[in-house]
């Protein structure tokens, strides 16, 4: 294989890889309402980076927290936050709202 061919193949490979890293991150929506997560369980594929789009419809702030996912993020009332997670092994990763822990419980199910 000549150097120019290698270069050309490399450029094609890079061009094909680019959209994968830049665009193909799946988004999963979770809504906080009345201090509860809806849906309470989010199913995501194993070994992939995904983004949780968490919309807080309550007037009060909430802190999305998960020891298993190692995530901790305050979401102001009426605001939406992006929480990047993964790639993860299959399993159940609970999360909760720290400011309303009695009701705000949920989990990411990786399969």
């Amino acid at each position: 294989m000549s150097a120019s061919k290698i270069l050309r193949n490399f450029v094609i490979a890079a061009a094909m890889a680019l959209p994968l890293t830049a665009v193909a991150v799946d988004e999963y929506r979770v809504v906080i309402e009345n201090h509860r997560f809806e849906p309470a369980e989010v199913k995501i594929p194993a070994g992939k980076r995904v983004v949780l789009i968490v919309e807080n419809r309550d007037a009060t702030p909430e802190e999305f927290e998960s020891h298993e996912l190692k995530r901790e993020k305050i979401i102001a009332g009426g605001k939406t936050a992006k929480i990047r997670i993964g790639p993860l092994e299959p399993g159940r990763y609970p999360f909760f709202g720290e400011f309303n822990e009695d009701t705000a419980q949920g989990a990411v199910i990786v399969e």
């Binding site: 009060t60 298993e68 979401i75 720290e98 822990e101």
Partner: protein, 287 residues
Amino acid sequence: MFSTGIIVFREVLEAALIISIIAAATRGVAGRTAWIAAGVGAGLCGATVVAGFTDVIADFSEGRGQEIFNASVLLLAVLMLAWHNIWMAAHARKLAGDMKSVGTAVSLGERGLWVIAVVVGLAVLREGSEVVLFAYGIAAAGAAAGSMAIGGLVGLACGVVTGYALYAGLLRIPVRHFFTVTGWMILLLAAGLASSAAGYLLQAGLLPALGNQLWDSSGFISSDSAVGEVLHILVGYEARPAGIQLVFYVSTLVAIGLGMLWSGRRSRRPAGTPAADKQARPVPASS
């Protein structure tokens, strides 16, 4: 009411423990109480401002603002703790010696003291802004607000009392070991804060994980148990650390440790060689 108290207690505890370690570590230094008080005051003002601008901070850098802000606050605190410890390594012997002979505060000048105000201020800022946000939620709760506010105040009081208990406990350590112990505590505290900062930067996708989960010791000490939380505050315990967190932890430990050694050696040099030094000044070193 009970759960409100717990949440406030948790947030207050972290700041309270950091303040009590700092207060103990600067024992015997003239003027340190005023600097700590200034730090608490500035931290409370800052916490209110940060809480008010939560939206603005969060929207910065494509929604990574909160993580970047938290990591910056933590890393600044690490820098200040490093400075403090390296500075103290040069003065600890004089302090320990003077404390035994005079029993009163020693003036070391105020050159190094603004650092403790910054450390205290940053701790109060970080934890306080969460309390302010949470309190806003309570205020919006309406009917239940009264009992929740009482819970919050009880949580605040418990946090302060626990911090004071740690301070009182540390003061019982014999003088000749005292600054060694507080030095180690600040060293581990700084390493833990650095690891937390790495956690936030990882969460923002700004650092590679280098292993999402090095180990899982949550079956042994869970992160949400009381022991786990206190260990997290004091020595940066993580039940499921990422590789990058360990890298930050160890690098901080080594960097500050070397700085302390260097500073301690340098301060002893004018009195003679290290061996002669021990014989020349037996009072602060032993007894």
